[in-house]
Symmetry: C4
Subunit: 318 residues, 4 copies
Amino acid sequence: MEYRKVGKWGLKISELSLGSWLTFGNQLDVDNAKEAMKEAFKNGINFFDTAEAYASGMAEFIMGQVLKEFRRTDIVVSTKIFWGGNGPNDRGLSRKHLLEGTWNSLKRLQLDYVDLIYCHRPDPETPIEETVFAMDYIIRNGLALYWGTSEWSGDQLEAAHKACRELNCIPPIVEQPLYNMLSRERVEKEYLPIYEKYGMGLTTFSPLASGILTGKYNNGIPENSRLARFPGLRKHLEERGLLGDETIRKVREIGKIAEEIGAKQSQLALAWCLKNPNVSSVILGVSNVDQLKENLKALEVKEKLSEEVMERIKKILE
Amino acid sequence: MEYRKVGKWGLKISELSLGSWLTFGNQLDVDNAKEAMKEAFKNGINFFDTAEAYASGMAEFIMGQVLKEFRRTDIVVSTKIFWGGNGPNDRGLSRKHLLEGTWNSLKRLQLDYVDLIYCHRPDPETPIEETVFAMDYIIRNGLALYWGTSEWSGDQLEAAHKACRELNCIPPIVEQPLYNMLSRERVEKEYLPIYEKYGMGLTTFSPLASGILTGKYNNGIPENSRLARFPGLRKHLEERGLLGDETIRKVREIGKIAEEIGAKQSQLALAWCLKNPNVSSVILGVSNVDQLKENLKALEVKEKLSEEVMERIKKILE
Amino acid sequence: MEYRKVGKWGLKISELSLGSWLTFGNQLDVDNAKEAMKEAFKNGINFFDTAEAYASGMAEFIMGQVLKEFRRTDIVVSTKIFWGGNGPNDRGLSRKHLLEGTWNSLKRLQLDYVDLIYCHRPDPETPIEETVFAMDYIIRNGLALYWGTSEWSGDQLEAAHKACRELNCIPPIVEQPLYNMLSRERVEKEYLPIYEKYGMGLTTFSPLASGILTGKYNNGIPENSRLARFPGLRKHLEERGLLGDETIRKVREIGKIAEEIGAKQSQLALAWCLKNPNVSSVILGVSNVDQLKENLKALEVKEKLSEEVMERIKKILE
Amino acid sequence: MEYRKVGKWGLKISELSLGSWLTFGNQLDVDNAKEAMKEAFKNGINFFDTAEAYASGMAEFIMGQVLKEFRRTDIVVSTKIFWGGNGPNDRGLSRKHLLEGTWNSLKRLQLDYVDLIYCHRPDPETPIEETVFAMDYIIRNGLALYWGTSEWSGDQLEAAHKACRELNCIPPIVEQPLYNMLSRERVEKEYLPIYEKYGMGLTTFSPLASGILTGKYNNGIPENSRLARFPGLRKHLEERGLLGDETIRKVREIGKIAEEIGAKQSQLALAWCLKNPNVSSVILGVSNVDQLKENLKALEVKEKLSEEVMERIKKILE
């Protein structure tokens, strides 16, 4: 396992990391989560990601129960604030929700501080100076060591850094975008100035494009698959054309390359993300330990991705 | 119930809110207050306003007793500091009184923090930089999430924002002025630059002009009415011409419109305040639950206030 | 008793105040001190001054024992840091001594915070930025509400304010100089720009010039008098010419005026200090309650000091 | 014992001080350390230096056990953060390691704060602004009173001071370099602008060049000597030519001067360091109390180092 710096900053996280989205509190209870996290740590994963929104706080609670068995300095724990409930002040990036959300997340996690805290989405209804002052409060009071953003636009990140400079606030060091073979625009184009000017790192999610990049939807939506169980997600993907013929054709082509180099298609998709030097860590979501073990093999597959193979993939994706 | 942003900021408060001035600790004890606050919350009110000065701290104590039964993130609690006692340092906006006043208010409220804390009046005897540094202390130490002012002039607000910028202090986000059909100058003219330049919101008090706008003083001062019981208030209103013939004539004219649209005159007066988009919340003072229920119907009346009706009211008030 | 603002700032202190120098821990034990402080408070004194150096910390301890019986917001308590012991880091205005000194003073005083904390002397061995950052720490951590200096030169005060502006630190609001009829230069000339530019107030000590202005040394040094008991003090005064013939002649002249207006000479000397509008409070040191009562009559004497009388005194002192 | 200011700053430390490198937790257990520290303190040493890295935290623990018997204000305690373990975030100057390292050091030391905290080495992998913000956090939260660096280059120190100015952070006041007769370049040339522009002081280590300057390696490496026990150190010195003929010749020449002035060669080497006015303190590492007593005599030897003797030494070292 390689440990990468988060952008230009001093924090180091494992190139593969374990997320809790859709799994902790759903497929995984405390015991399963413990098994997965211990296996992950044994294999060099030191970064564990959660959010107040996941399973209505249950994901944080489960992760907190397991984290007690780790040495605090060995791990990097992140959470994200945005959706904390249904009340008028339970969501968004107001000072009220950011502070109350953080205090409550730390209670569920049973931690004094998280390493990273993310603004889980941009909030156009709150002025950036309010958000920046609140995140600065969180850092300067020791509730988190670093802060980041998730799914903010390049312009929104520019505005955040400008406000930090003007208000003498500590700036964000990391973005958490969706990134995979089928969604590359933001990470590979829009964020370019952000890496260079501000040295931000990336922790990326959805490396398998909700499973599409495993090839399992190549012949329609199987019963009991995630897309069958979450019709909202299916609709969302359809609207973005990700279940269309053109996409499936590309996925099949990529599948052939996977076969050639002796890898599962999912492993190839993960390894491909790791080849991007601006990516600090690719967050895995796993339903069980076997899936985790399978995904970890992406590290070996990464070694097989020569420039020539990468070039072929690039052509397919164009 | 509509939830409005406080000016441009991320905090959201119900357009109608419940104050404790003249009522908590007077007409309302802990049990009555609890009944009123629960009814208010059930109807969507999330903002509860008090002050260290109200009933010599009793209003805060009563509100604190009731607030224990609410989820902290569901509510927005404000208090105000200025009149804390009779000693030389018990009033005004010195650092000593602002900090001691806040510490003591929080004890009476039994809270770790309030959402909003107001400077209850301007204090020309204290330099603005002292006040601004003290409010910044209160925010940065987590005793309050936001701060505001009450009954400050436009120039005083300008000075406060200028000092905040120069001293790198967190600026006020809200003013709490008196505002009703009979007192419009400040809110509709003097503060205009403040909304635009600083995005401040308003929480307004005295929507019924001490009862004048209910029409109950149209034929003199009834026994047992508030003006009969508080001669000081009566004198104050008389001096400002608010009990004069010209005013009563206007109130009667407005009364006819209320009748036309099938509303109580008090409901029309409240609804009229709500039509001003710069108003974030209109603070109600109620003596009992029935009055609260009656006032809440202003929300329905608001829907009936067409442009044409508003224009007619405007003409009457001129 | 008049309450004066400390310079332009919002803090208000009684024009006469009670110090603990040379008395608390020497002539006054806890019981005597309690009696004196209660009498002082009853007569309107709200400001009580001490220092870590007085009686090796005993003065602070005694004051702390008595302060428990006062309401915290009723009083203004000050201490001063500079001489805390004999070790290399027990004195001066280094960050180490300022912070350790303050922590230890608060323990002896049994208080969470003092209202005012003074740098008891300038420290040419410590750079002003170190001192300013340390005092800012003390204020921003709630250990004191305001800070001041004692016996700093006009240039040193200029340097302090300049450093505060450059380092975004909270500035000092008060100086504590020696001031009486025989020592006027600094307060009446050197500090003039300081009042105007920075609005600093003054709490002055030694209003009776170690007793010279009571007239009791007009015919030599009586046995058991303070100057007989403290030969160091006597030498110090002699070196500054304050026990010379010229001085004694002036004191006798002033004595005649006192007699004319029906005042004790000590009361006239105190009242004369109070006539200076830049003086916020004159600190009294008393050995017993009777002396305190006698000194408090200076307030009445102040009313008798017409412009004409002040002019005559001015001529004598020239 | 002379107490020197740390550069231009107000903190005062004894010119000789006691370190814990290679000794605490190795040759010295709690009892031996206590004996040494008490002897040191009795002789005027007030500065005790340790680091998280020394004996894997054991040096801090031992020092903490002994420090309980000292008055906190009498002593100046320092630790250093850089090497805290083997995990990806256990070393270097990231915010994560600096804060976690400091929290853990304070626990081992059983202290609320250290006087000085050093960045034990430069960390080119972490941007200076991250380190500067983290050290500022440590100071502003009262975990340390001052901060410094160890073995940073002149350029790195320039960059640190520039970042502090730009980010309004409290700057470092002290460097801890290696300094002795055989390694003079950095202290005597590279750092010159640092003393003048920033008033930094120096606490220097390795005054005897790992024992070479005692003369004990003049005839090869004796069995059981430090160089025999630590082959890594031996190799390191050999690579830098410090065990070569040319060096040994110089050491022998210096030895003759020591003999002339009636001093042990080690005492002369220590006294020579003390003659540099930019040195605030020379840190001694001792294996037992006798060695400490012997080293303390360097203070007397210092008095014998006339300009003429210093000139002769200078010629030899050229």
